[in-house]
């Protein structure tokens, strides 16, 4: 992956700048279009599928930007395989974290009423026995 001569290397850097800038502009365009800001795409604001299409496109473009920064700017592409794997493979754990926690978040949303209801249930007070050490009822033993 290494750049062989100086002029090519410089050209590569400015190509990278152009690429990242254009991708960022496309992302902003998609984001605003999905919210109905771009005139002729105004209908997207009310299209129920738009949020998924736009969201998927934004995530894919961001992941590509991340790949580009790590492989080109940080030269991960020219490191040996062992180094690449020890840094990149652990990040795959995050895939599960995203799936699990977003699932959990969605579950809180649907269970908000139940949680609120349960939070309001009064705890039954144990009868005061006059002693700090509570005797267990014999039938509990």
């Amino acid at each position: 992956m290494g750049h062989h001569n100086y002029e090519d290397a410089i050209k590569g850097v400015y190509k990278g700048l152009f690429l990242l800038a254009v991708i960022t502009l496309i992302e902003v365009f998609f984001s605003l279009a999905g919210k109905g800001y771009i005139g002729f795409l105004g209908f997207l604001e009310h299209a129920s599928w738009a949020v998924y299409v736009v969201g998927f496109a934004l995530i894919a473009l961001s992941l590509y930007k991340a790949y580009f920064i790590v492989y080109e700017f940080m030269h991960m592409g020219s490191e040996v395989k062992g180094l690449r794997m020890t840094v990149l493979l652990p990040t795959l754990l995050l895939v599960w974290a995203v799936v699990a926690f977003f699932q959990e978040g969605g579950s809180w949303k649907t269970r908000r009423d139940v949680i609120k209801q349960r939070n309001e249930i009064q705890v039954k007070q144990a009868p005061q026995t006059g002693s700090l050490i509570k005797k267990l009822p014999t039938n509990d033993i």
């Binding site: 605003l32 700017f73 940080m74 926690f101 977003f102």
Partner: protein, 288 residues
């Protein structure tokens, strides 16, 4: 105790040869410092991921969430001279992203000049990188002061709300909402703060109920300030280290090391990582 002179001589041969980590061959064919920078960045990535995933989980759990293009619709100098009535959704934060991208590119140039042992080139491109980073921090300072001072968002109070039903306002707020204005479910609003506190404007729903504007999800302010603050602190430390290493480079310290300005390469890795994190902060806070 008798000294094994040959062992001492051998130790001296390899001592100070940092590129080999004193073990004959460098693991992963990189210097110790560079590998540890990679592992530090990996651990830092997990910290940021933890924050961003928490943001996602809380956002998923909320019935409504402030829309970014409504919250982030302001820019300095009275919306760049267009007046505060003209919304500029995401424009300012796009400019901030460009600053970070450009400073990442100037950092790559500094590392390249380092490989050629070109001292002046390294210092010049690092200086531009520092200016880019400082510019980003300045923009963030404006963004925060606007959110805190003008829009009155705090860690525990989020004045950015979303209507869950349509209706008609029965009073104005003196900030663009007039009596008789109508709104639909999903429309965003900002509760302005006056001398008497937050002014939650009353309205009548289409079903005929009288209600007041509700505050938005409470966690929004805390998540925003903690996550962008944590990233901003990374930018700040990056600028500080860039300055130190730039001055070291200018003083000729790295010329003597003859290792292709490896210190510049290491701070470069850190600086690109800060840009990398911003890609995801930008995605979850501003784009989605």
């Amino acid at each position: 105790m008798a000294t094994d002179t040959s062992a001492v001589a051998h130790a001296h041969d390899t001592q100070g040869d940092e590129s080999n980590w004193d073990g004959g061959a460098a693991p992963f064919k990189v210097s110790y410092g560079k590998l540890m920078m990679w592992y530090f960045l990996l651990s830092d990535a997990f910290t940021f991921a933890g924050f961003l995933i928490a943001y996602g989980a809380i956002r998923f759990s909320s019935p409504s969430w402030p829309v970014p293009d409504f919250v982030f619709r302001t820019a300095p100098f009275d919306n760049i001279g267009m007046g505060h009535e003209t919304p500029l959704p995401l424009i300012f934060v796009t400019f901030m992203s460009f600053l970070l991208i450009i400073s990442s590119v100037t950092m790559v140039r500094a590392v390249q000049e380092g490989h050629r042992e070109n001292k002046n080139g390294v210092v010049f491109w690092m200086l531009l990188t520092v200016i880019g980073g400082a510019g980003f921090l300045g923009c963030q300072a404006w963004e925060w002061s606007n959110l805190i001072g003008a829009e009155h968002m705090t860690v525990t109070t989020n004045p950015f709300g979303t209507h869950v039903e349509s209706g008609i306002y029965t009073a104005g707020d003196g900030h663009g909402i007039n009596k008789g204005d109508t709104f639909d479910a999903g429309d965003s609003y900002l509760i302005h703060k006056g001398a008497d506190g937050y002014n939650q404007v009353p309205y009548t729903t289409t079903a005929g109920e009288t209600k007041h504007q509700e505050f938005g999800p409470k966690a929004f302010g805390a998540l925003f300030f903690f996550i962008t603050g944590f990233h901003g602190f990374h930018v700040f430390s990056g600028v500080a280290f860039l300055l130190i290493i730039m001055l070291n480079a200018a003083s000729g310290l790295y010329v003597e090391r003859k290792n292709g300005y490896e210190m510049v390469e290491k701070i470069g890795l850190y600086w690109h990582f800060v840009d990398l994190v911003w890609v995801f902060v930008f995605l979850v806070f501003y784009l989605l």
